[in-house]
Amino acid sequence: MQKENVLTRRDLLARSMGVAGAFTLGGSFIAATDAAWALEVKHLQPRTMATLVQMARDIYPHDSIGDEFYAIAVKGYDTPEQAPGIEEGIAMLDGMSGGGYLDIGWEADRNAVLRRVQDTEFFQMIRGGLVVGLYNQKEVWPIFGYEGESFSKGGYMDRGFNDINWL
């Protein structure tokens, strides 16, 4: 709820478009191995962004939510202003990991690293930003079953507001 962490819908849309356009823009990419998505980075090192995406998933792990949504949620840090702080934060995380955070195979072991840094400003900035940056993406709502806006459909009066059948 801290203001600096609140992303607007416009921010999110801009980020979504950034992802969609990545293939045609050239430059540095990080990409899923199956090339289902890719993300161009302009100011962060690709490995830094990849680590940030993994960190985001480890903070709010949802096995049915694809990496691209985590990438959208952290893409906003790829700016000239934010990149140095992110590089520094990820370097700290790598240092705490005894080399590379991405090289730790099990989530439980990565969690142990995150617990050691959870009171840092860096961790709290990433976590706080994700609360809105991840969960306010309209595209992830259906994964949770959430239906979003309903006024234009006339509400739920005739669409199941009391359709529970197992009580």
Binding site: Q2, V140, G145, G155, Y156, M157, D163
Partner: protein, 523 residues
């Protein structure tokens, strides 16, 4: 046609704020033929403007001007700059509220007598009784169109309610129903019936939920006796050498300062802004702020004992479908000290969308304990717990020594720590809420901490004696006869019930009193 009044016209009543208190008062005074200028810090948004989107709506409606916090309440840690979740707009928090419209119980007007001396609590009996307020509760219920009163049928039960009802009845609770709600179960007062859309907190796009912003304010404006000035942020209340208030200075949206002269001033900016305005109006004659000879302005801040319980089931609930608050259990609202605390609490269903659930379920939490709960969002039911909290003199609104708002005015610091009675009540309520869901097969329950406060009360409290409070039984300042407080800050104690209906009833009563006093030349 709204009447424009001259800023030098000192015959007008100035009402500051247009929510449940100020909006109803301004409309009612205008209907009585009294000229009113209402100053509203926010803009005007009507049903067609509201958005079915939690964060976008928050950006549109919420009061997000700077505030600071202290004390051991968790809100101060998780939402340090947002102690309250209230609205800055014509209609105030009646745009956002869920609609629960409950009368106080008889004993809740005299809790000092009923509960005795509770260490650490600054309890006081109200200087008025339920019997005195009953006719005004009737008027308020008719004005709001409250279901299950005056022959208005109840709302149908949603999925979230049906789970709650089944669990509550299995547990043996008797008083379980879809609530007394200011949400139309059928067309009423020219407004449509509820379509179970959800998003009640984001402003009702059907206008089915009562709000002073589109009921009482336009009714007042239609008389030609009410002018509402939007984006008018009150800065100071001025007075003369006789100690009577003479007008209000305010900033418009461009930062220009204006002065509206006044015959009398009614403050209704909620329990943060009302004491802030009185304190910011300190002068040589009133060095501790206006109406503050008792030293009680800003003190005894109450926010209700609150918390939530969410239950997860092995099958879908889809709690977001339908009204945000869909039903109530009132059995625990009684005063029964054998439970380990005085006062009582209500259990009311509540649903949040995914964006707000992520923000409020367990602020600061991360990892799978948190995310597996959200993974079961579709199978989740939710309730809010709301009960009487103890007024404590140390829980207070004060002026920040170093933080100023965009107009250069000191903002409020909100200091709050739970009383032991509040904690005992919350723990009891968590246990009962969990038991309700477990009685219908919940596989997991979650005791969720309080959200930023929506029920902000008590910071200009009513008292019989002038040295024990700020205003008398009419909301009139003990110190300054033409200065009134017209919002929830005048509550002496909070009761277990959602406060809006009582704020509205007090506003109608105050309007009658002001009109009578003006007509006999006393004001």
């Amino acid at each position: 046609m709204a009447a424009p009044f001259d800023k030098s016209d000192d015959s007008v009543v100035v009402v500051i704020g247009t929510g449940a208190g100020g909006g109803v008062l301004a409309g009612e005074l205008a209907v009585k033929g009294i000229n009113v200028v209402a100053l509203e810090a926010g803009g005007r948004y009507l049903p067609e403007d509201y958005v079915n989107d939690e964060w976008d709506s928050f950006a549109q409606l919420a009061w997000t001007d700077a505030r600071t916090t202290s004390g051991n309440w968790r809100v101060s840690r998780d939402f340090s700059g947002l102690p309250a979740w209230i609205v800055k707009a014509v209609g105030g928090t009646t745009v956002h509220w869920a609609g629960a419209s409950l009368r106080f119980q008889e004993h809740e007007f005299r809790v000092r007598s009923e509960y005795g001396n509770i260490p650490g609590a600054n309890l006081l009996d109200w200087p008025l009784t339920l019997q005195e307020l009953e006719p005004y509760y009737d008027r308020a219920e008719k004005n709001l169109g409250v279901t299950r009163t005056h022959g208005i049928p109840g709302l149908p039960g949603s999925n979230n309610y049906l789970v709650f009802e089944a669990g509550a009845k299995a547990l043996g609770y008797k008083n379980v129903h879809t609530g007394r709600m200011a949400i139309n179960s059928e067309d009423y007062d020219g407004r449509l019936a509820c379509q179970q859309t959800g998003f009640c907190f984001q402003g009702c796009k059907w206008g089915a939920k009562w709000s002073s912003g589109y009921v009482d304010i336009p009714r007042g404006e239609a008389t030609g006796n009410l002018e509402v000035r939007e984006h008018a942020h009150a800065a100071r209340i001025e007075h003369n050498s006789e100690g009577k208030v003479t007008g209000v200075t305010y900033f418009d949206k461009d930062g220009n300062e204006h002065r509206q002269r006044a015959r009398l001033v009614c403050v209704a900016g909620n329990s943060f802004e009302s004491p802030r305005l009185l304190l910011n109006s300190a002068s040589a004659m009133f060095p501790d702020g206006l109406a503050n000879s008792s030293g009680q302005v800003g003190k005894n801040y109450m926010r209700h004992m609150t918390g939530s319980v969410y239950g997860i089931f092995d099958k879908p609930v889809r709690m977001w479908r339908g009204t945000t608050m869909a039903g109530i259990v009132t059995d625990e609202a009684r005063n029964d000290p054998s439970r380990g605390f005085v006062g009582g609490y209500e259990m009311e269903t509540l649903a949040l969308g995914i964006p707000f659930m992520a923000a409020f379920l367990n602020p600061g939490a991360w990892g799978r304990e948190f995310t597996t709960a959200l993974d079961s969002y579709e199978n989740m039911a939710g309730m809010w717990l709301v009960g009487e909290d103890m007024p404590q003199e140390t829980n207070q609104i004060s002026l920040s020594p170093d933080t100023k708002d965009q107009w250069g005015l000191p903002v409020v610091n909100v200091h709050f720590s739970d009383h032991a009675n509040d904690i005992a009540m919350r723990n009891h309520a968590y246990r009962q809420g969990k038991a309700i869901y477990e009685a219908v097969g919940a596989t997991r329950t979650m005791p969720t901490p309080p959200y930023p406060s929506t029920h902000n009360l008590g910071t200009n409290r009513m008292s019989e004696k002038a040295h024990e409070g700020v205003v008398n039984k009419w909301g009139q300042s003990h110190d300054i006869s033409n200065l009134f407080v017209s919002d929830g800050s005048q509550f002496t104690t909070g009761g277990a019930e959602n406060p809006t209906l009582t704020i509205v009833a007090l506003a109608f009563r105050q309007a009658d009193h002001i009109a009578e006093e003006m007509s006999r030349g006393a004001l």
